[in-house]
Amino acid sequence: MTRPYGTLTRNSTVTRLNHWLTAGCFVLLMLSGLSMFDPLLFWLSSLFGGGESARAVHPWIGVVLLISYAGLIIQFWRDNLWTKDDTAWTMAIDKVLENKEEGVPEVARFNAGQKFVFWSMALLVPVLFFTGLVIWEYYFGTYTSIPTQRAALLIHSLAAIAAIIIWIVHVYAAIWVRGSMRAMTQGWVTPGWAWRHHRKWFRSLATTGSTGPRPNATPRK
């Protein structure tokens, strides 16, 4: 991939492919799921060739998403561990929202908002998967009692709504913070981007002589 002189790697090729596989599954699950959630949105099932096809394909996409998101967890969990700085950053969210980031604690590879999205999905994806198995009529319709299936349906719906709202926050943040989208499509950011949004991460790269996405194990000197 061609990229400008002096840029840093934000996301490796493997990470980006993994991310977009997850994203594609999520969008398809959202569209097919909403078609079965509210009659006003049943028309979305046409995108899948009709209600029956939407019903049939939805759980399989869910299986792919679970595996795909597991890949993201493996790649990202370490950099998403919560720290005291994250709490301070969260307290200063009003400044962040006003694009006035001076005075806000310096951010490592991920900020508290990104960590919130990451851990929320790390919780919601398995919840959606396991409640989804309970209501997967085709294979598992007779394995659990009807009251269990009713509860699973409700939890599945509530978890899905939460996931969709978090997904909207995630997508908007990528639009809002310019350069983020390219970081996930082409993988690179400018040093200024890293300085502005993830200064602690930037410093760790600079001091270890790494071009990203993670610092080298030892300082250069």
Partner: protein, 315 residues
Amino acid sequence: MSNLQSQDYIRISATTTTPPSARSWEDQVAKLIDVTRCIGCKACQAACMEWNDLRDEVGYFEGTYDNPLDLDPHTWTLMRFTEYVDDKGDLEWLIRKDGCMHCEDPGCLKACPAPGAIVQYANGIVDFISQNCIGCGYCVKGCPFNIPRISQVDHKSYKCTLCSDRVAVGLEPACVKACPTGAIMFGSKKDMTHWAGERIVDLKSRGFENAGLYDPPGVDGTHVMYVLHHADKPEIYAGLPQHPKISATVEFWKGLIKPVALAGIAAAAISGFLHWVIAGPNVVQPEDEQAAEDVLKANDFPETGDRGHQTEHPT
């Protein structure tokens, strides 16, 4: 089974508009099953198979008269036999013809996500229009009586139609026609309720002091009603529920959270848009690039000449 009906729908699944309802002179119908007159001959089961062209696989024997053992996509009505020992120690053989109760407030229809897959006719019959069924199984969760069964062959849901095709042309359901003792009757709900009242008076005079009509108010009444000798204990009749109603879980899932969820999703999207308009994008400034460059230089960062072409680091 079919939507070639001479009657108007009063409810259509997953449809928010008002169904056509001009023809409102229709009588509410009901099937009355007098459990106290049933002899368990299964003529109704045979008639149901015959009229609806249903042939189940031959199952197996498990030491009871229940045959087959449960409702399934090919068995829309089923005699359930219970050996009940009453307070005096006497054995009573309770035989209940199980099948769809045709609730006035149908949980299957409310749970169904497929437009027009479940309908309720003006006469009260709840019918599955199978060609619109998507096989999700939500009707199973919606039903307070555990009636719908999903076929493992075509993945559609099936249950008793109350012979809506026969009723539409002025015939009684097949099971009613076949019953040799008059234990199954069909007519307007009003007439059936009246007839049940007479029968209950008779039963009470013969010592069944708790005899009564099963027309559960929790689902706004049903279009299939039972006369029971022990109406105070419907559960002894192979688990007929005492107070059937649509599960609160289903009511909540199909009620409040639908509009709240869509409002929440819309609010999230609108908030994003407003933030864009008010605060705008967060854009890297030249001074950020300058500051970053200074740090890189201070750290004697590797000469950047080859950085444009190097392979990326795996995480």
